[in-house]
Symmetry: C2
Subunit: 308 residues, 2 copies
């Protein structure tokens, strides 16, 4: 990823494929990530919510990251999720990703305890920065209160930027609250703000947002990338409407199995449908309803489908 | 723990002490657990919410469990928490605890994804039972929707008992909803139901509950044990009122740092106050308020305070 261009573009929270026995299918993961980059992804926010990262062990995450790099994917397009409930795990994953040359890490707050203070969340970030002790470290905060139950307030971000500007580099805002995304972009110039849904992509770009990091980029990244490249064109509003309609159709279903079902259809390979508990695959009826609504929207993957 | 006596008694979710640098203080942990057993605990539900278990790595939890057993604490009084977000972690901890001879494990559901189905939660339990493959395995479900954001419904428990009775042995109900606790005790005879607060202890015992597993048992286990031994006596209601008053005073504050503050006072050792982020210690003002309200209730630790 070139640091000279702005906006950065679409970063994809790549889904993690599993074998039927629930073990990780690393080969399929590397193939999927290569395909996403070919389709227009400017980076890969691997090990996010859509990646079922919290269903993976620390060792599995480290091995998968190494498989990507060994598989020829440049580390500097990678922004792996490293925020865990346990500080030692967050430190280990963050150190590993930074040493491997990833351009940044996407950091969930510790998400077990609810109602925690900004002081506690501040400490949970700073207590990672100190032991990682690597000037290459770039932290992107992962704000997703609907899942995590805790999040990053504006005063907390201001405090983190005051003490760690340059290290605390941006945020993925999956609050689903456009007013919050807007406030983030306006409050902190130079701080990279990625909405967690392409529904807000054009609005964010016009204000100075960095792109987006979206679950459905697993199946529709080319169209998102096209909007980012053309957001100043007269066609931008129409492109946004098309993106939003597809997003709305997909998010009527649980996003992880829905993305995997679409990938199974694209690749004509049911092996894509495996998820780890507590998620479950879409039912046949749900798949049919999802595919029918996508067909009605004329949805198709824009670029090539690699043979497997 | 004798399996021949019922109710089982108080199981304590022992707090995990840390050094000032946030590393685990295993020696203090073993001492604390020994003291709890001397005070009247019938078991130790180590690695629960109060133990900051989700702030510990898998390796730290395994090592602490071994330190307890090596330190002379009988494995058959231990019910370690083993439920993680990631299935491989839950399997590893559950297998380890069972092989070490623990009488059971306390299993949180995977708690990152919200709005998951009973089918998914069912799979998250059964997919542990199969690879652990140990007839000694006894699973106690850990129902704590206020923290986990997901929980175990009555139909889900019924389904688990139908397929895994004997293995799925009981539940800790930290819903804070007495009607739910009551429904659990009444619906599933022989299924051990532990309210997650001593506020419901006497009511639960009278219906056939198994005891309680309560945060504040870290500092008040002797009084809880006394009520369990005397719950048929004419003094039972008065004992319950005293327990409830102390619980109410403590839970005005965040329970983990409040328990640690009380232990620091009992042992006259500020080293007890260290918590891992995202938790923070009580402020001096909060400590003073907590201690004043406990003093007003005549609270004191009932038994001996070991020298350190």
């Amino acid at each position: 990823m070139s640091l000279d261009t702005y906006p950065r573009g679409v970063l994809v929270p790549a889904v993690t494929p599993f074998h039927a026995d629930l073990s990780v299918d690393a080969e399929r993961f590397v193939d999927h990530c290569r395909w996403l980059l070919a389709e227009g992804a400017k980076g890969l926010a691997v090990f996010g919510t859509t990646s079922e990262a919290n269903a993976l062990s620390i060792a599995e995450r480290m091995e998968l990251l190494e498989r990507l790099i060994d598989g020829g994917i440049a580390a500097d397009v990678l922004q792996p999720g490293t925020g865990c409930c346990a500080l030692p795990d967050t430190v280990a994953l963050t150190k590993h990703a930074t040493q491997k040359g990833c351009f940044g890490v996407l950091m969930l707050p510790p998400f077990y305890y609810k109602g925690v203070s900004d002081d506690g969340l501040y400490a949970s970030i700073t207590e990672v920065i100190e032991p990682v002790a690597d000037e290459r470290l770039r932290i992107y905060l992962y704000h997703i209160p609907p899942m995590a139950g805790v999040g990053f307030s504006l005063p907390l971000i201001e405090r983190l930027l005051k003490s760690h500007r340059g290290i605390v580099a941006g945020i993925k805002d999956s609050s689903g609250d456009w007013k919050y995304t807007q406030a983030l972009i306006e409050a902190f110039p130079g701080f990279e703000v990625f909405p967690g849904s392409e529904t807000y992509l054009l609005d964010a770009l016009r204000l100075g947002g960095a792109g987006c990091i979206s679950a459905t980029a697993n199946v529709n990244v080319a169209a998102m990338d096209a909007l980012i490249r053309g957001y100043k064109s007269p066609h931008a509003d129409g492109m946004q409407r098309a993106l939003s309609a597809i997003r709305a159709a997909i998010q009527k279903f649980p996003l992880v199995p829905a993305n995997k079902a679409i990938l199974a259809r694209i690749h004509d390979d049911d092996g894509w449908n495996v998820v780890r508990p507590p998620l479950v695959p879409l039912s046949p009826d749900a798949k049919n309803a999802l595919f029918a609504s996508l067909d009605a929207l004329g949805f198709r993957v824009a670029q090539t489908v690699p043979a497997r």
